[in-house]
Each structure stands twice: as C-alpha cells, then as structure tokens.
Amino acid sequence: MSVILVFLLVIAGFAGWWLSHQRLTAKPWLEQGLAGDFVGFDRSALPTAKIGLGVFLAVVGCLFSLFTSAYFMRMGLPDWQPLPLPRLLWLNTGVLVLSSVALQCAVIAARKGQIDNVRLGLATAGLTTLAFLVGQLMAWRQLTADGYLLASNPANSFFYLITGMHGLHILGGLVGLGRTSIGAWNGARPQRLRLSVELCAMYWHFLLFVWLCIFALLAGWAATFIDICRQLLT
C-alpha cells in the first residue's frame, strides 16, 4: 500500500499548503464586522470548473495509485509471470502524446482567439485519441492471440484491467472533447470555449501522465526503480 500512501502524502501536502493560506489560526470570535478585509480569502480566482476538474483528477489519481498498490502486492506472490509488452504500445504512447500536444496547441490558439486553429487542434486530438484507443484494442488482440489470456496469469489480468480502466477514462474524456468540439463549430462564446478547451487539455495531460506511469509499471521499470530505491535506503 506504499504507492497509495505516497500519493495521499502528496495530496495531504497540497491540502496542507492550501490550508496554511486560509488563516486557520484566526480567532473568528474577535472578528465581528470585518467583512471587507477578507475578500482575498473568499474563494479562489481560478474558474470553479477547473477546481472541480482538479478535485476529480485527484480522485482518478487515487484510483490508479490503488491499482498500482494492488499490482505491487500481487506481484510478490510466486505465480506471477510477467508478460511481454506488445511493441505496439510504443506507437500508442506516441499517438497519445500527439493528442496531448494537439490539445495544448488548441489551448494556445483559444487564448489568441484563433478559432480555426482551435478547431484544427480539437479535431487532431479527437482523431489521435481514437487512434490510441484502437491501438490499445489491437494490443489486446495481439496478446490474446499469443495466448496471454485474461485469467491465465495475474500479470495478464492486471494488464487488461489497468489498461482497460485507463481506456474507459479516455473514453469519458472523449465525451467532454465531443461537447467542446460541438461548441467550437457552433460558435460558442470565446471565453466559454477557451475554458472548455483548457479543461480538456488538463484532463488529457493528466491521463497521458497516468498512461506513462502505467506503461512504466507494466513494462517492469517501475519495479526496478523501486528496487533501486530500496537498496539505496537499506
């Protein structure tokens, strides 16, 4: 459970940093009537939707940290046989990076108010993301064709489970991306469009980060890395 504890430590650190800016040592019983002085403490200047997405991403991060924790705990048992990762996953990774880059371009374009480039970025991101999902499915098919079935070994089970869960999150993101695209083509207000594109980009970058972690985990690098850390510590 060390992975999830480290993750929660990061969250706790962030929460602690935020709380330390909230005057937790104030003595509210002595502060009657001073409404005007606290405007800075009322709420964050960030858009509410961004904060909402941030909280949601913390939950998603928690979910994948827990899968990782379970992965490491199950890995220590004797019947674990790592499976060879399909080389296709490298290509998929590249495609997902591409979609993240495309969305970042869309964000920049939206900030500059270049609606055509926004549309281009959104379309590229949508297509590359679809390509990523198709690529993942093809990787699954390759593995099953080679006899690495879901239930035949826990390493396989975790592979399908974690990649599947990641794919589901991408799929959910596509719904948001689709709605943003509809707005981009139907002439949504520039400010609103900009926020939606930024939210999409945020989600995509996060899921790319999650995917890189998963990739490292499934390829076995994460375990090697932790072993090295352990040796350094002991």
């Binding site: 509210p28 019983w29 009537g33 904060i51 909402g52 827990l66 019947d79 879901l150």
Partner: protein, 589 residues
C-alpha cells in the same frame, strides 16, 4: 482585543452571481430537479426507505438469535444474507448517503450562502445513479439464490464460493455492481460538496467562519473521495474474479472435491483494499455527525462553541490520521507484529483529537443556558454514546486485547455503539432541528420525546448486554449457538431480552416516521428561525427556502456562526449576516 472597525454597509457588488438553472415543468422541478434542496430530500427519502429494509432485516436476525429454532424460514443461509445486507445497507446506503447526500446537499449551499451547488446537473445525476445503485441492491433480494451472504466485509475467497449464499449465483455480482454504481454516484455528488465549499461561499464567509457542520461534511467528503476508490478497486477486481475467473484475490482452492481454476491470489490483498476504504468510512460517517452535534449543542445551549479553532483542527487531524489506521481491522490476519504495533499506535493517537472534541462539547455545555429541546436531547445522548463506543474502541485498538475479542459480540457491540447508534442519534437530532426549515413546520414534541427516550434507553439495553456476551466469548456471525457450552442459560435469556428490546426500539422508529409525515401538514407553524439560530440557513427570506435560497441579494457574512448570548447585544443570538460589533470586551473562549 483587536482593533475592530465596524463595516456596516458593504455593497454586495463583488459577490459573483451564478447562472441559476430554472425549472420549466413539474418534472424538472420535483423529479429531475437540479435544486440541491430537492436532491437532498430525494437522497434522504431513498436512504430512509432502504434503511427501513435494513431495520426489518435486523429484526429477522434478532428473531433467530433471541429465539433460535422457533422460526423455520430463517435458515442459516437466510441469516447470513440478513447480516450482510443489514450491514452494507446501514453503513453505505443509509449513513453515508444520508449524511453527505442528504444533509450535505441541504445544508452546504444554505450554510455557506450559495444559491445552489456549483455543478447542479452533476448533482442531479449523482442522485439518480445512487437510486440506481439502491435498485440494483434491492433487485438482489429477488435474484435466484437471493442476495449475497458473505458478511458486509465480503471477504474472499468465501464471498464467491458455492457455500456462501449468492456466491455462485447473482447475489455477489449484484452487490458488487451496486457498490460500483454507488461510488460513481457519490463521486459526482462529492465533487459538488467539496467545490461548493471552496468556491460557493458568500462574501465574508471565510473558512474560519464556517459552521462546524460544513467543516465536518466538507472534510468527510474529501476523505470519501479519496477512500471510496479503494472499495471501487476491490469491487472491480472481485467482480473479475467471480465473473471471468481471474485470480486477484482467489488462492488455489478445492471446493466440493473440485479444484477451482483460481490460483495463487491473495485474500489479504482484498482486506487491505477493503479496510483502506473501511476505516476512513467510519470517520466519513462520524465527522458530519461531529460537526452537526457541535452546532446543535451551541444553538440549544445558547453559548458559543468552546474552542472553535481546536474543533476545526481536530476535524482535519482526524481526517488525515484515519488513512493510516486501517490495518487495526486485520490484527488476526497473520500480519507482522511490528505492523500491528504501528497500527495500534496510530489508532490510539487518533483518540486524541477525538477526545478534544468531546471535551469541547462538554465545555460548551458548561454553564450554558441549556434548553432540553429534542435536538439537544439527541445531541447529549450522542456524546454519552460516542464516549461509550469510543472507549471500547481503545480496547479493540490494542492488539493483545483485540485478538481474544476478535469476532465476538464485543466487536458487534463496539461498532454499533460508535458508528451505528451514535451517528443515528445525530441524524435524529438533526432532523428534529432542521425539519422546520425544510417543511416550515415543527415536529410534534410529545411524539419526539417518546421517540427519544425509547430509542436512547432502548439502544443501551440492546447493545450493553452484547459487551457481556462478547466477553463470555460468544462469537458473532453464527446463526445457531444453542449447542455450544459457552451459551449458558443466562446468555440465552440475555439474547431473548436483546431481541425484545430491538423490537421495541424498532417500533419507536415507526412513531418517528409517523411524526415526520403527519407534521408536514399538521405540525405547529415554525416561522423562519424557530431555534433563534445564527447560521445563514435560518436567515432565508422564505421558509422553506425558495429556489435560489436567498432572494435577490446573497447575504454578507460579518461574524462567525456562534455569537450566542453576546453581552451587550439585544437578543441572545446575532445572525452571521448582521453587521456591527456588539461585544467590545468579549473574552476569547
């Protein structure tokens, strides 16, 4: 004394007005509503309805335990199913949903001075997914093989094997699916509760001016958002084990002479995941109760809460600590003794902030102008009950004491006291307190007193004897104990007594339900602020609050939520939205 300059008239110009969704038809106003108040009532009604099912299940269990062998229809399998569903429903579908979905939805926007939750559409979805989860759960009663009988902890491998009711039928699949749905629905709602507290607060409502109710619900929601994924992961993996034959949790196992296809899985892994959710869950239920009870005590004792800052810090400390105590549920799982030592230590440490809260409640009462209204009675009963249940928690938190007491009725008595009876008492107190705001009418006092005394005394008569049964070594989760030597005749009598009390207490809840329904039309008119309370929900222009909560302009907050009996003030309470400094020489508490 700080330098105080009264700022009487601050224009509300900087309060960002949110775009409110306005319903257009009866359906979008009362059924597919995006108004947090309606969603709160929907959540509460659904949770109460499913809670009644769990109440009936507990009666059936008590029938079997109190009068073993008398009722043919309660087979051992049925008994396990009753236990499982009773536990799961009460912990998740009733307590979590009612505190966070019910009270959270109703109180957060009103108490922080918001028009609604920040994402009303997602909030509506949250309720409907929750309802779906409840329906899936209920459907398992009618599935072939009945609901699962794996115990509310659903430990593998037994949870998905033939010997367990529902293990190889639909029961466990429906249970796990329902939990997954619940978690998805809760996450939608939870995002709203957290972000509304962060971003929805009206002008002047700093974090340190929030009523403790909001602090409790807020922290509990943050915890729930981070803890429920653990249950989600456990459920998904067990579902795969059951449906697709993977071996996440399932070891190589022989069932009825047949070697199953599972191999090498780790049941302990499930226990870690389950309790990583399961222990924070205790505080997810307890923290809203702590917060609500603080407000009830302060309001009905007409005195500011003692040590407000400590109360807030304690809530945060409990929230953080509760993530590092989970394995104290697993002392008998064969863990490394140093782990046991570590988790026993953290468990005892968490008692410190909890005890601070109890002291502060008692000190708030000290020399207060205590009104023994029904909410106050329930709040007082909560303090006593929580202390009782908490003390046995210190017993069970120590490895050497826990090992012999593990899986005895002592454990049942402990967790019912601390996380069954105590939070339920707060829920009752809170309903008596806020019902006038929700409906505009008071609940009937006489029926309320009857309900309180029967519930309070009855709960003690039910759960106190269980401690003794546990100390005698009587195990939990056994449908039939008649032939065991430890079941002495006096233990049998005690069991019958407990069962009879359980029926009486259950009956008192029917009186309460009658009161709830009857008072909607026939209760005494409450007016806007019957308890003369300071928090914003009592300052709404209409009662019940209309769509948008606060009329044309949002209130501006000038003070904390606990200005009761301020010397020099005209009345014994000053609402949060009243400007001016009334207390030039007020002592900090």
């Amino acid at each position: 004394m700080v330098d105080v300059t009264p700022a009487d008239a601050v224009p509300p110009a900087e309060v960002g007005e949110v775009e409110l969704y306005h319903p257009h038809s009866w359906w979008t106003k009362y059924v597919f509503s995006q108004d947090a108040k309606v969603i709160a009532v929907q959540y509460s009604a659904t949770a109460t309805a499913i809670g009644l099912v769990a109440l009936v299940l507990s009666w059936l269990m008590r029938l079997q335990l109190g009068f073993p062998g008398t009722f043919d229809f309660i087979t051992p399998e049925a008994y396990y199913q009753f236990i499982t569903m009773h536990g799961m429903i009460m912990v998740i579908y009733l307590l979590t949903a009612l505190f966070l979905g019910g009270f959270g939805n109703y109180l957060i926007p009103l108490m922080v001075g918001a028009r609604d939750m920040v994402f009303p559409y997602v909030n509506m979805l949250s309720y409907w997914v929750y309802l779906l989860a409840v329906l899936v759960l209920v459907s398992s009663f009618f599935a072939p093989g009945g609901p699962t009988g794996a115990g509310w902890t659903l430990y593998p491998p037994q949870a998905i094997m033939t010997g367990t009711p529902g293990g190889q039928d639909w029961g466990i699949i429906l249970m796990l699916s329902s939990l997954i749905l619940f978690i998805i629905g809760f996450t939608m709602g939870g995002l709203n509760y957290v972000v509304t507290v962060l971003q929805g607060r009206t002008r002047g409502m700093t974090l340190m001016r929030l009523p403790l109710t909001v602090w409790g619900i807020f922290t509990a929601t943050v915890m729930a958002l981070l803890a429920f994924p653990a249950l989600f992961v456990a459920c998904v993996m067990m579902l795969l084990d059951r449906a697709l034959g993977t071996s996440f949790f399932m070891p190589a196992i022989v069932e009825m002479g047949q070697q199953l296809q599972h191999n090498g899985g780790s049941p302990i892994l499930f226990q870690h995941l389950f309790w990583f959710f399961g222990h924070p869950e205790v505080y997810i239920v307890a923290l809203p109760a702590f917060g609500i009870v603080s407000d009830l005590i302060s309001t009905h004792a007409r005195k500011n809460i003692f040590g407000y800052r400590m109360m807030v810090w304690a809530i945060i400390a409990i929230g953080a600590l509760s993530f590092v105590v989970w394995a104290h549920h697993m002392y008998v799982s064969g863990m490394h003794p140093y782990f046991g030592f570590f988790f026993a230590t953290t468990t005892l440490i968490i008692a410190v902030p909890t005890a601070i809260k109890v002291y502060n409640w008692v000190l708030t009462l000290w020399r207060g102008d205590i009104h023994l209204t029904i909410p106050m009675l329930f709040a007082l009963a909560f303090i006593v009950t929580f202390v009782n249940g908490g003390l046995t928690g210190l017993f069970l938190g120590n490895v050497v004491v826990d090992v012999p007491l593990s899986d005895t009725m002592f454990v049942v008595a402990h967790f019912h006291m601390v996380m069954g009876v105590a939070p339920i008492l707060v829920i009752f107190g809170a309903i008596y307190h806020w019902y006038p705001k929700v409906t505009g009418r008071m609940l009937d006092e006489t029926l309320g007193k009857f309900h309180f005394w029967v519930t309070f005394l009855g709960a003690y008569l039910i759960f106190f004897p269980m401690h003794y049964l546990g100390l005698m070594g009587i195990p939990r989760r056994y449908a039939e104990l008649t032939d065991m030597t430890i079941m002495t005749e006096s233990a049998h009598h005690l069991n019958s007594f407990i069962s009879i009390m359980a029926f009486i207490v259950g009956f008192a809840q029917m009186v309460f339900l009658f009161n709830l329904i009857w008072s909607i039309r026939h209760g005494r008119e409450a007016g806007g602020n019957p308890w003369r309370a300071t928090t914003l929900e009592w300052q709404t222009p209409q009662t019940p609050p209309a769509h948008g909560n606060f009329g044309k302009e949002l209130p501006i907050v000038y003070r904390w939520a606990y200005d009761y009996s301020v010397p020099g003030a005209k009345e014994d309470f000053i609402p949060q939205n009243v400007p001016g400094d009334f207390a030039p020489s007020k002592e900090p508490s």
